[in-house]
């Protein structure tokens, strides 16, 4: 049962105490921090490492770190990685096998102790992305055991969005800047004349217990109103949007669209969009033998539908053109994902737009496909 804990307020010392409490519990705390000219996700040993006073300026194919005068820690949008780097790591050993002296082969599954993660500052879009990966990787016939074990132990502390970026479009994917259930705690950062503070909502017993152990005060109505207003305002400040059409139907009707050639001319097929996408989950496996041939290991690693080998069947790749690979990615993400997993695969975080070196913009491509379909429909009507 979830404790009916009332919202609370933490100040910066309270946030320090929160991180200290998580570290004291033996958790590996992952959160945003400034490194290599970006706000990346990394292990935090103290809340001091949070990107206080840093924001980002985003555009298609462009990311710049910019100072913020308000000193806010969470006033930035999605960075170069997502939480899948931790829950669904880029490379993981699945098992190893050894040839025994009798000539048999003995298999050893790899089940290392997984870290107890605490994710600090999970955006509402990323919270939805984690829920999507949960459906993909913990359900059905192809559950990923490593993911499941890491996910079960992970504690999620959301940070609601008050500062959407120019590449954000979560609202048009059915999401929004407020955190949906699924978090243990949800923070909303406020910096105003009453000080720098965080409204905390409790989403689980574990979250309630954690909050109990650190200095906090009950939320006053003014702080709650300010927090709600900031999140509401963020809803109207999305930098981009997908067209308000049935995307599933649009993609299904666009298989032969000319737009795919247009985007293929700009697409580097470098795979960046899939690697930064918080829901893209595809992996391949590699067998690693040693020189003696007596020991072998199977490793799972991130794969991408932009890799020619991804669709390699006997004799060659099925999707050899950039056109077919981009179409596969976008059609799966927005349309056939529904058939497979019951939802869209896009949460509108904008990473694929920001981190595409060529600046290909998923919202622009979908709008163009929609316009092309409308043109064809109009043309069809005229000639009937």
């Amino acid at each position: 049962m979830i404790a009916p804990a009332a919202p609370a307020v933490l100040d910066r010392d309270g946030l320090n105490a929160l991180v200290a409490a998580l570290v004291a519990q033996g958790r590996t705390v992952i959160g945003p921090t400034v490194r290599d000219g970006a706000i990346v996700l990394a292990e935090l040993t103290s809340a001091d490492a949070l990107p206080y006073g840093w924001g980002v300026e985003l555009d298609a194919g462009r990311y710049r770190l910019v100072p913020r005068v308000d000193g806010a820690a969470f006033a930035h949008s999605a960075g170069p990685q997502s939480w899948k780097s931790y829950l669904h790591p880029s490379r993981e050993r699945l098992w190893s096998a050894d040839r025994t002296s009798e000539g048999d082969v003995s298999f050893t599954p790899d089940e290392p102790e997984v870290p107890s993660y605490a994710f600090l500052g999970v955006r509402p879009c990323d919270l939805r992305a984690i829920a999507i990966q949960d459906r993909v990787l913990t359900g059905g016939h192809y559950a990923d055991d490593g993911y499941r074990r890491r996910r079960c132990k992970a504690l999620l502390i959301a940070a609601e969005c008050t500062e959407p970026g120019a590449t954000c479009f979560c609202v048009s994917t059915g999401g929004g800047p407020a955190a949906d259930p699924g978090y243990d705690l949800a923070l909303t950062e406020i910096v105003d004349e009453d000080g720098h503070r965080f409204l905390v909502r409790v989403g689980s017993d574990e979250g309630a217990e954690l909050l109990d152990g650190i200095p906090h005060r009950s939320a006053d109505p003014a702080t709650e109103e300010t927090a709600d207003a900031a999140v509401d305002a963020a809803r109207d400040r999305m930098g981009r949007s997908l067209p308000p059409v049935d995307l599933r139907a649009l993609m299904g009707a666009s298989l032969d669209a000319e737009r795919w050639d247009d985007v293929a001319a700009r697409c580097l097929t470098c795979g960046n969009c899939t690697m930064v996408c918080p829901t893209c989950f595809c992996t391949t496996t590699e067998e690693v033998t040693d020189l003696t041939g007596d020991h072998t290991e199977r490793w799972q690693r991130w794969d991408s539908c932009f890799d020619l080998d991804f669709s390699y069947l006997h004799g060659g790749p099925v999707r050899s053109s950039a056109r077919s690979r981009y179409r596969q990615w976008l059609t799966h993400k927005l349309s056939t994902w529904h058939d497979q997993f019951g939802t869209s695969g896009c949460v509108g975080c904008g990473r694929c737009i920001t981190w595409c070196p060529a600046g290909i913009d998923i919202t622009e491509e979908v709008a163009a496909l929609d316009a092309e379909l409308a043109d064809h429909a109009a043309y069809g009507t005229e000639t009937d």
Partner: protein
Amino acid sequence: MTPKLAVFKLASCDGCQLTLLDCEDELLALAGEVEIAHFLEASSAVEPGPYDLSLVEGSVTTAEDAERVRAIRAASRHLVTIGACATAGGIQALRNFADVDEYRRVVYAHPEYVETLATSTPVSAHVDVDFELRGCPIDKRQLVEVITAFLAGRKPDIPDHSVCFECKRRGTVCVTVAHGTPCLGPVTHAGCGALCPAYHRGCFGCFGPSGSVNLPALIPLLRRDGLDEDDVERFLHTFNAAAFENFERELET
């Protein structure tokens, strides 16, 4: 029978062969699995062929080497070329776009002593090659993987995709998107582990073109990030000059 391994060198700097000696941890295991029958950089003791696996470094720049590589092929069950010179002609393939006689006159006091071909070409332009391992120099892990795969009779796990895959897998922040640094990563073959971007530098394309290259999409980005037309040409004409040139030629037609 212990398989016989041979290492040969054509026009090159020796760096790729050195990668084999650099396999410190694996070298003893390797010596236990193969007979190192011909490897002049390591030993002057030479066993005659045939060889089960020959690693060939360097490009073909003389008529003599063109002859020699045919003899190496004839003496080798498997022939694997290693490095940018052997797989693409290397830096010395810059001659392919210039007049070698002019170079010869400028560089050498006695140009008549120098016998050389007008082009620097990969080994695969002369004989059949079983596998091409890219890099300038090659990557140690990948070399061990290729040798291991040949010993086991399986296909080497050497992905053909871009360096971007490796940057993202190791969690490197994109130097183009976040810093505006020109980078050949999106068109360059993976294999180095995305070394340069991890040190805030753009990819130099040491591993040559990936399996899926779109230069018309990349060149405007290089120009945007501060390279002029000549810079772009120089950037593409470094370690794998001739390999990227093939894509540039497609651009012109």
